[in-house]
């Protein structure tokens, strides 16, 4: 894209300068908000870590924020978050990838016109409605019949519902990545006698790999930060367990629990809120940075 650059000189009318200043300030508001959020998180979290040593927080296996004796080991919450996100990916990656491949390579334009908006529709469902769907259908009807010994709240229910939430993301981004692969590569493979599926498997998907991996990491980031659906489906029992039939508490669910309750500002529980928020922020930041590096590493330039 070519832009015409008009250098500012002393003869530039005041109006032009004002407009530029205004646009800059508008952009700055966004940046300042982010900086503000990070600053608040870090400041209050530091206050928290003055009372609870960082080592105890990071390695403790008991989380008891409201019931004495107070213990603030974040491992149960982190395990809960990672378990739910992990199951969500197990659900979303196969479905999302396969949908993306179908939409990019196999679907006729008419089917694509119908199917793609439908997929986007899932992304448009409010997450609280999906959580409601989990408590009223997935847990009592689906999981109770398939999994023995499962209760009303479980990691499995939460993981499935977040997986449904995140599938359109993977499908959409993977499809875009695959459609960006030059036709020449496909045609070359066909010219060498490859079947359609071989073209997809051996040429298109490897070529689009960086975009696909980026979409998966983005989906993980989204799953880690998901709140409403998880609060409704997974419950609020902060126990350290790897059994996916159990009810656990994720970091986001804890933040909701404390925010909705009557925790006085300045109390230890209140500060714990920020510590957990900061941890969550670090996790998503790390995932985003990883996504950038993966994309850069796997990118094929055509």
């Amino acid at each position: 894209m070519t832009t015409v650059s008009v250098p500012f000189t002393r003869r530039t009318p005041l109006r032009e300068r004002l407009i530029e200043a205004f646009l800059f300030l508008s952009a700055a508001v966004g940046i300042l908000t982010t900086v503000g959020i990070v600053a608040v998180l870090v400041f209050e979290a530091v206050e928290f870590f003055r009372e609870i040593p960082l080592v105890d927080y990071l390695t403790g296996t008991v989380w008891s924020a409201s019931i004495k004796p107070f213990r603030f080991g974040v491992l149960p919450l982190m395990t809960g978050t990672l378990l739910v996100a992990g199951i969500a990916l197990l659900v979303a990656v196969p479905f999302g990838l396969v949908s993306g491949i179908y939409l990019a390579e196999y679907a006729s334009p008419r089917i694509r016109m119908l199917l793609k908006p439908l997929l986007e529709l899932i992304a448009g469902i409010p997450t609280v409605v999906l959580g409601f769907f989990a408590i009223n259908f997935i847990s009592p009807v689906l999981l109770k019949t398939l999994v023995p010994g499962i209760g009303g709240f479980s990691v499995l229910a939460g993981g499935i519902v977040v997986g449904i939430l995140v599938t359109p993301l993977i499908a959409s981004l993977s499809e875009d990545a695959m459609r960006a692969v030059p036709r020449g590569l496909r045609e070359g493979a066909v010219a060498m006698g490859a079947t359609k599926f071989e073209v997809v498997r051996r040429v298109v998907v490897p070529a689009a790999l960086s975009g696909i991996m980026a979409s998966i990491i983005l989906a993980m980031s989204r799953a880690v930060g998901e709140t409403m659906a998880v609060v409704l489906a997974v419950g609020a029992n902060p126990q350290l367990t790897l059994d996916v039939r159990e009810s656990v508490q994720t970091m986001t669910a804890f933040i909701v629990q404390i925010s909705l309750g009557d925790t006085p500002a300045g109390s230890l529980q209140f500060k714990a809120l920020f510590a957990v928020g900061a941890t969550l922020f670090m996790m998503t930041l790390a995932l985003n940075l990883l996504s950038d590096r993966v994309v850069a590493r796997f990118r094929n330039r055509y």
Partner: protein, 337 residues
Amino acid sequence: MTHRQTGRRTALLLGATLLFAACGGSASSPGSSPGPSSEPLSGRVAIDGSSTVYPISAAVAEEFQIEHPDVKVTVAFSGTGGGFKKFCSTETDANDASRPIKTKDKPGADGQLGTADDELSEATLCANAGIEPVELKVAYDGLSVVVNPANDFVDCLTIVELKAIWDQGSTVTTWADVRAGWPAEKIELFGPGADSGTFDYFTEVINGEAKRSRADYTPSEDDNALVQGIANDENGLGYFGFAYYEENTDKLKIVPVDDGAGCVTPSLDTIKDGSYAPLSRPLFVYTSRQSLARPEVAAFFAYYLDTVNSFVDEVGYVPLPEDELTATNAALQAALK
């Protein structure tokens, strides 16, 4: 659509919106009006606190608002403890409570009373804010222990077993850990959270110290959420106010409690005569002299005490005997002077 047509359409929409906004705006009335009693009452009464007492207060509030449509009564359920914090900072006019107000200050980390780091009691906090609480006993409750209806082996629990399950540092994870012969399935525990008066009462009476409890269970101040949790889990076990069991007898199974004198099932009779021990307890509503100075609040509580026994029956708790109701009325009258 032509430019002119879109312009007209927008103007029409804008006009309609403004019209609706203007109509809606005039409906809200100003604050309380202290005037002769012939004038209709108006104003607001804010109540928060115990989820156990909530059904009673909500029922009274509903009927009261039908008779006095200009008074807005809101009832929330943040838990007895959470509610007291709001009550003692003048955010609410009254607090539902499933335990009496705390009156003893606790010494802080330095072990000395009277220093700056003391844990102040609710009574002290109220006094510091200029609030004089008025205690009104309104009903009796039998704190009920419930399990899932599919549970066919739990017919009774002793208070020793209850303490073993719920105490801090408890190592009980399966039913077999509670009583030999029971299945070795993991118990899913549900109970009120730390802001709840039910939590305070149960832990004090069963574990020996208020607020001392294990922490690895699903907590909620909303007893309906606990009902749902236990109803959906075969291995569920939980405790909450009797009214929530009464309302869901098809989804829950009540567990009789044995405190040494045999297994007693909570019912209107056993709670009234005290044989359902130690989990029978009085329920209170606390208001303040300051709030009672407002006519709508005074009228609300007069109405409350007049009608409470009829609502308590409906809701599922045990109504006060005549002499205790008279005593509560006397307390209200004394506070109105």
